[in-house]
Every structure is written in C-alpha cells, then in structure tokens.
C-alpha cells in the first residue's frame, strides 16, 4: 500500500518539512526534523531504485489523472540513480550541518537555513522524478530560489553579491528553459515527456522545434555551469556556508546534467540531437575548454573553496565530454561521474568545513601546518583530493577509466591523452594544498588549533570511505549507470 505511494512521498516529505521547520522557530529542533526527513528521503530513494532494478520503470499518476493529461512521475534507471545521489549527499551533509551552521550563520536565522534546505531538496528531487516538462520548470525554480536564499545566509557580505549574481543568471537560465518548453508545447500540444518524445518526430524539421532546442541547450547549460556559462558558480560555492557548499557541489549541477540527458536523449532523441543538430560538435570543444581553462584558473586560486569551485567546472566538463561521445560507454562514464564527482567534491567541501570550523579561514596560506594539527581532517582532504585526480582504488579513477575507454572506442586517442594531461592539472592544484598543509611552516598562531569535533569528522569520513569503497566495488554504480545509458540510447537488450 505505502509502497505504491513512494514516488510522491519522495517529494512531499521534504516539501512539508520545510514550512514546519520555519514554524518551529528553533535551530536545533528544525535541524532534527530536517535531518530525519532527509534520511527518510534517502531510504525512499533506495527503495525506489531497488524496485526499478527489479520491475522496470515505475509510473505514478498524480491525483489519479491518467498520463498525457495529468502529471506523471516516471522513474527509470537514470532518475532512480540521480534520486539516490541527491538524497544520499543531502543526508550526509545535513548530518554534518548542525555544528557547522551554528558556527557560521547568525543563530537567529538557524531555522531559516533548514527551511531553505528542505525546499531545495524537494525541488531537486522533484526535477529528477517528474515526467512532465512544465513540472521540471516549477521544481527548478523551487530549488533555485531556495539556493539563492541559502547562499545569502552566510555572515560574509560577499555572500550577498554572490547570491544576487546567481539569482540573475539562474533566472535567465530557467526562463530560457521555460521558452523552450513553450515552443515545444506549441508544436506538439503536450507536456508529458514520453508523449513529447513520440510526437516530436513528426514535427522535428520545423524551425520552432529547432529554436526550442537552442533555448533548452542554453538554459540547461547555464544551470549546469557548462563553460563558458559558469561565472556564477565559483563565488556561489565559495561564499555559501560550508555545509551548503558541500550540498551544492554534490547536487545542484548534477541535476542540470540529468536534465541535459533527459531532454536531448529521451525527448528529442539521439538522432535529432546529435545527427540533425550536431550537438556533440558544440559540446565536445566546450567540455575540453572548460576542463583546461577551469583547471588552470584553479591552480592560481588561493581561496581553497573557490579553487574547488573552479575544479567543479572542470569536472562538469568531463561529464559533458562523456555525453558528447554519444556512445553507451561515453554516457555510462558521464552518469558514473555524476555519482563519483558528487562523492569526492562533497567530501572535499566537508573537509574544508572542518578547517573553517577551527581556523576560520580557508585561504591556502592559512592551512599551513594543519596536516599535523588536524590529522583526520587533512587526511580526509588528501584522500578526497587523490580521488579528484583519479588515483586507482578511488572513484575518480573509475570515471576517468570509462571516459578513456569511451574515447579509445571511437579511435579518439588524442582525447584520451588530453584527459590524462588534464588529470595532471588536477594533481597540481590538489598538491599545492597538500604541500602547504604538510610542509608549510605555520606562522605564530595565537591559539593552538585542535582537531575538528567528531560530529563534523564522522560525516566527512563516511563520504571518504564511500569514495574508496565505490572505487573498489563498482558493481552497483557501473551496473546502474550502464543500464541507464543503454536505456537513454535506446539500445537496451
């Protein structure tokens, strides 16, 4: 009975928890409620993934209205996997959040953080779960509006301007997507994704459908921070409170990449997107430019949080690169990297959250000598950093491996070489931090720095262990990503 209602509960539980957090008006109580709601959401998404893997796609009719007219929640392998990524990263980061948020956000605003957090979560889960394109826009705006709020809650005043800039860019991106949806509706008269995919074939050579394609590409590209539409991202990540940065790094752009896959593979279809419109010829150079430019900027960035922000732009480049190869292995690599990058980047931001908790700054120079003062925190940072570079036995290696195999499959050996060279750039910027932390001489600090409390270290290390576990046992991640890629490319056997 309750099992049949899981798809809607996935979204409704956090959506209701949000306003209740506001009414509770108490930081700790709100955190308790939000954390319980987050873990419930994680268990629901695990149950949904399990069900999808056994019985195939689930369709849920909202309010009992049948599909093309009513809103349908449709869950197949790829959204079940994205739901798991979002709710998993969210559950870990919110467990981390209590001490960190109390330290970084004005205590009178504590409950507002968790209100925004829950609305953000329900927005992201809604985007991933829904089978209706207009519903995508509504959930996109729910998550975006709450993310502007979450960034602006930091004490640093630069957070306000970062939030404002993100608001302007994010609204333009979402409105572009809205225009794309309008033009699609104009030609097909439907908003249901499966219905759209069936009807779009007969009108696919009209200019309206092609313009809609252009608007959707630009809008989703902005939301995903695909180079060169990434300018909002580094500041938004750098000036948000630490726990929020980790949350964004693990979830926000991932959902946009999911939308990219959904719109261009499921709705428009591979033939139209990549043979008629030749989207891959635009995405491939942009992905490579993003990887190299953003990695190079990251090397010269001294604020470690901003450095990780630029690194995120480069990592999004790898995902787009996988998509632009338009092969089962390439798309598998992209989906795998969604999961793997969420794990490594959230872990790194949580480690920086521990540093900020004790040191009060994350500028590279201020990390001097922390390798000995905070061994567990910096140990986590080192392992997360190695995963980012792609050292074997970490998840980063698995993503890069599949990406290189996909490139070699298409005889693009030069692409494989470029991926390897870009990993060296990642090694450079990660190493700079490690060097300062372990070999830099700590200046005269007035107080002795202690290790971060267990409440912060445990969530961080759970993610680090996940980084290593999924780097060794890849049966779950590669299996699901492979099945999702086959479903997207329509080659499911």
């Amino acid at each position: 009975m309750i099992r049949a209602q899981l798809p809607v509960l996935q979204v409704v539980i956090p959506l209701l928890a949000g306003p209740v957090c506001l009414l509770l008006h108490h930081s700790r109580l709100s955190w308790g409620l939000a954390t319980s709601a987050s873990w419930v959401a994680l268990f629901i998404s695990l149950a949904l993934l399990d069900q999808v893997l056994i019985t195939g796609p689930i369709s849920y009719e909202l309010g009992g209205w049948a599909a093309p007219w009513g809103i349908e929640y449709r869950i197949d392998e790829i959204n079940a996997f994205v739901l798991l990524i979002i709710s998993g990263i969210n559950a870990i980061t919110i467990s981390f959040a209590r001490a960190s948020i109390e330290h970084e956000v004005n205590e009178k605003r504590g409950h507002i953080v968790y209100t925004g957090w829950m609305l953000y979560l329900s927005g992201l889960l809604g985007i991933a779960i829904t089978g209706d394109v207009f519903n995508v826009f509504v959930f996109l705006e729910i998550s975006s509006l709450s993310s502007y709020l979450l960034i602006s809650l930091n004490r640093d005043r630069r957070a306000l301007t970062a939030a404002f800039r993100y608001l302007v860019m994010g609204t333009i991106g979402a409105t572009f997507i809205l225009i794309g949806i309008a033009l699609l509706y104009m030609m097909t008269g439907t908003l249901n994704m499966a219905d759209l995919a069936a009807r779009i074939l007969s009108v696919s050579d009209t200019r309206t459908v092609k313009i809609a394609f252009a608007f959707l590409t630009a809008g989703i590209g902005l939301k995903a921070a695909v180079f060169p539409m990434h300018f909002w991202l580094p500041n938004a990540y750098a000036y948000a409170p630490s726990a929020i940065s980790a949350l964004f790094a693990g979830t926000a752009t991932k959902v946009a990449i999911y939308l990219l896959l959904r719109f261009f593979f499921t709705i428009y279809g591979v033939e139209f997107s990549f043979e008629t419109m030749k989207l891959d010829r635009i995405l491939l150079p942009l992905a490579l430019a993003g990887i190299f430019v953003a990695s190079t900027i990251a090397i010269f960035e001294t604020d470690v949080k901003r450095m990780l922000g630029y690194s995120s732009i480069a990592q999004i480049g790898y995902m787009v690169l996988g998509v632009s190869l338009v092969s089962v292995t390439g798309v598998t690599a992209a989906i795998l990297h969604l999961f793997n990058h969420a794990l490594m980047k959230a872990a790194l931001f949580l480690a920086l959250g521990c540093v900020f908790f004790r040191v009060g700054s994350v500028t590279r120079g201020d990390l001097a000598g922390l390798g000995y003062a905070m061994p567990w925190t910096m140990g986590a940072f080192v392992l997360g950093g190695l995963s980012l570079v792609g050292i074997p036995l970490t998840v980063g290696f698995i993503s890069k491996w599949y990406l290189i195999v996909a490139a070699l499959d298409q005889q693009m050996w030069w692409l494989a070489v470029l991926v390897l060279i870009s990993s060296l750039l990642a090694l450079v910027y990660v190493w700079q931090v490690i060097e300062v932390a372990y070999f830099g001489t700590a200046g005269d600090r007035s107080v002795k720095i202690k290790e971060a409390p267990a409440a912060l270290l445990i969530p961080t290390w759970i993610l680090i262990i996940a980084n290593i576990y999924f780097g060794i046992d890849t049966s779950l991640t590669v299996g699901v990503a492979g099945r999702a890629a086959q479903a997207l490319l329509g080659t499911a056997s």
Binding site: F134, L145, L160, V168, I172, T175, A182
Partner: protein, 117 residues
C-alpha cells in the same frame, strides 16, 4: 499580411531583447531586477499568445460556440507569474541587504569595496 498578423510575437521578441539588454548593460542592482522582470513578462505574453485561437472564446460550454481558446497555457503561465513575483521579491530583498552591507547598489562600487577589503 502574415508578418503583421503575428504582431504579439514581435512584441515578445522586442520586450525580451530590452529586458536582457537592461540586465546585461545596467550596473544598478534595482535596474537589473527591472530588466529581469521585463524579460520574464515577454515570456508570459508568449504563453498567452500560444493559447489564443482566432475567433475562439473562453473555454466555457455555451450553446452555439464551437471554437475555444486553449486554457492550458494560460494556467501554466499563472504558475510562472507567481515564480516571477517570488524572484523579484527575493532579488529586492537581497538588494536591501546589499545596500545595508555596502552602502551602495551600484555594481562597480561594490566590486571596488570587495577589492580593497
């Protein structure tokens, strides 16, 4: 003339360009929000135009009327209007907080203060 018959779409395009231009060219945060609003409004008109049928009436069952306008885009755009109001409210609230923190809502002035601090 086909081209003038579609004048509402021309208005959409003109408003959209004005809005985007204001967002990009203006350094004043309030003006940016105004530009964003104009941009969003153009999309509202686009949706409303899609639903309109020439000679069609409101979708209410009345005897003797056979052609109705499509109500769905109109309902959809109500949602988008609400989103637009929320975005404007949040943007203005941020502008107030920025004014409190920097004593200015001019982008170049704010950047100057960030660079020196």
């Amino acid at each position: 003339m086909q081209i003038f018959g579609l004048y509402n779409y021309w208005i959409v395009i003109i408003l959209m360009m004005i809005g985007l231009y204001v967002v990009i060219a203006s350094g004043n945060l309030i003006k940016k929000i105004v530009g964003l609003n104009i941009f969003q409004t153009s999309v509202f008109i686009l949706y409303i135009s899609i639903g309109k049928l020439q000679g069609g009436t409101a979708p209410i069952l009345v005897e003797g009327v056979t052609s109705y306008s499509n109500p769905l885009p109109h309902v959809l755009i109500l949602t988008a209007i609400v989103v637009g109001v929320a975005t404007t409210a949040l943007g203005l609230a941020l502008a107030v907080r920025i004014y409190g923190a920097y004593d200015s809502i001019e982008e170049d002035e704010i950047q100057k203060q960030d660079a020196t601090s």
